[in-house]
């Protein structure tokens, strides 16, 4: 922009207007057409940039143009709201680029992550991880660290040996624990937790993994992360080989996000759908068969996925019949599962005798935890 000093030497030393001083011999600044045109062109250009055609009948076109350039602090961005949804979306993208746009998509549409920039937002959501007990905090079988397992035997909840002689070595940490695998372990993700789609398996540690449908040929192991297409409708094996392993996560989408952190109580309930344990001491039963069995039922903490196997904590069991006496057995054996969902009725055969047949009894002593397993 031209200053008046660029046009006429009658401007002062700063290139600005002066009224002059006749007595002092300083002439006043000449009003020059060139400078007036400069000012006019500047104003016209404000209008042009705003897409406004100069209209000689209006004298508010400059302020109209400026209103299009600037948000007024007192309006709290209402100009963008008034401009409509497209403008709002563009504004979100513009101020935070893809990360902010991704935040909106993840929070409100719960769409699978498609960009790495979605990860910081997706990590706030629970329910992403289709694996249970990924931090190895639930151990209802009291599996001993480093103990070798037979093929297809479960150790920590949800994890079973996929080769004979496998073991997990671990030490407890407040937020879960890393395990060291010898051999290999797998977890079966149930079909009803696997809708068709692209999944990403990620984890920390040196173990390698593979994901495949139960019954299908196992692919080669690979390092984290693994992205696979899952057809759905069948159970899925997630298998890890020898090495260290922590926070494995199987989630829908093509991007690995920050490991989900579930509360222990949530994790425990997820595990109990496949396995729960009870100390039967204190349970009420009915004495039957003239001393050959007792009948009882227990209520599962969560509805089980199918009927269960029953593993007595001990073959030694003492029962008490109020007002009559006690009886003891060393050959207690469970028989006859009577239910499939959350009420489990069964008998325990034994060599009790001396009590009143058909009457209620209390199991007064039963060592160990009786396990009810519907593990796949």
């Amino acid at each position: 922009m031209q200053k008046i000093g660029d046009i006429t030497p009658t401007a002062d030393a700063n290139g600005e207007w002066t009224n002059g001083s006749v007595a002092g011999g300083t002439p006043p600044t000449i009003i020059d057409a060139a400078w007036l045109n400069t000012v006019q062109r500047e104003l016209i250009n404000v209008l042009k940039a705003a897409g406004i055609t100069p209209d000689p009948t209006k004298d508010d076109q400059v302020i109209t143009a400026l209103a299009g350039y600037f948000l007024q602090a007192a309006n709290n961005l209402s100009e963008i709201k008034t401009a409509g949804a497209t403008a709002q979306g563009a504004a979100r993208t513009n101020i935070g680029a893809a990360a902010v746009a991704g935040l909106v998509a993840q929070v409100f549409s719960v769409a699978p992550a498609t960009l790495a920039t979605h990860a910081p937002q997706a990590c706030q959501m629970t329910g992403r991880n289709r694996l249970i007990n990924p931090r190895f905090v639930v151990n209802q079988r009291s599996y001993a660290s480093g103990a070798t397992l037979a093929l297809s035997s479960y150790g920590m909840d949800g994890w079973k040996a996929s080769t004979a002689g496998s073991s997990m070595t671990f030490s407890a940490l407040p937020a879960g624990q890393q395990v060291t695998i010898a051999g290999s372990f797998l977890q079966i993700v149930l079909a009803y937790d696997i809708e068709p789609g692209t999944y990403t398996l990620s984890w920390a540690g040196t173990s390698q993994a593979r994901v495949y449908n139960v019954g299908a040929s196992a692919p080669s192991y690979a390092s984290s992360p693994i992205t696979v297409a899952v057809s759905g409708g069948v159970n899925v094996n997630v298998e890890f080989n020898a090495g260290t392993l922590f926070t494995p996560q199987l989630e829908i989408g093509g991007v690995a996000t920050t490991p989900e952190r579930r509360l222990y109580q949530q994790e425990f309930a997820l595990c109990q759908q496949r396995l729960f344990g009870l100390n039967l001491a204190g349970a009420q039963a009915v004495y039957g068969g003239a001393g050959t069995y007792i009948s009882l039922s227990v209520y599962a903490p969560v509805s089980l996925r199918t009927n269960t196997s029953i593993s007595l904590g001990s073959t030694s069991m003492t029962i008490n019949q109020p007002g009559v006496g006690t009886a003891f057995t060393t050959t207690a054996t469970p028989t006859a599962v009577g239910a499939t969902s959350n009420m489990i009725a069964f008998n325990i055969s034994g060599n009790w005798s001396g009590l009143s047949n058909g009457a209620p009894v209390i199991i007064s002593s039963a060592a160990g935890i009786t396990l009810f397993s519907s593990e796949p």
Partner: protein
């Protein structure tokens, strides 16, 4: 090792009752054990005095 007791499959080393359910890992392990050529022992069931009495009168 497994036995058949009162018609039920019992894993003897941990005293586990195993329903015949293909969805259960315990039952799959039993089938694998059979496929390996093993045979479950059928254990005799002791009859209670009442059962014996009933049998005697019928």
């Amino acid at each position: 090792m497994y036995k058949i007791y009162k018609g039920e499959i019992i894993r003897t080393d941990n005293n586990t009752l195993i329903p015949k359910n293909d969805e259960l890992n315990d039952y799959q392990n039993y089938l694998t054990w059979l496929d390996a050529g093993n045979v479950a022992i059928t254990e005799e069931v002791e009859q209670s005095p009442e059962e014996e009495k009933t049998k005697a009168t019928t």
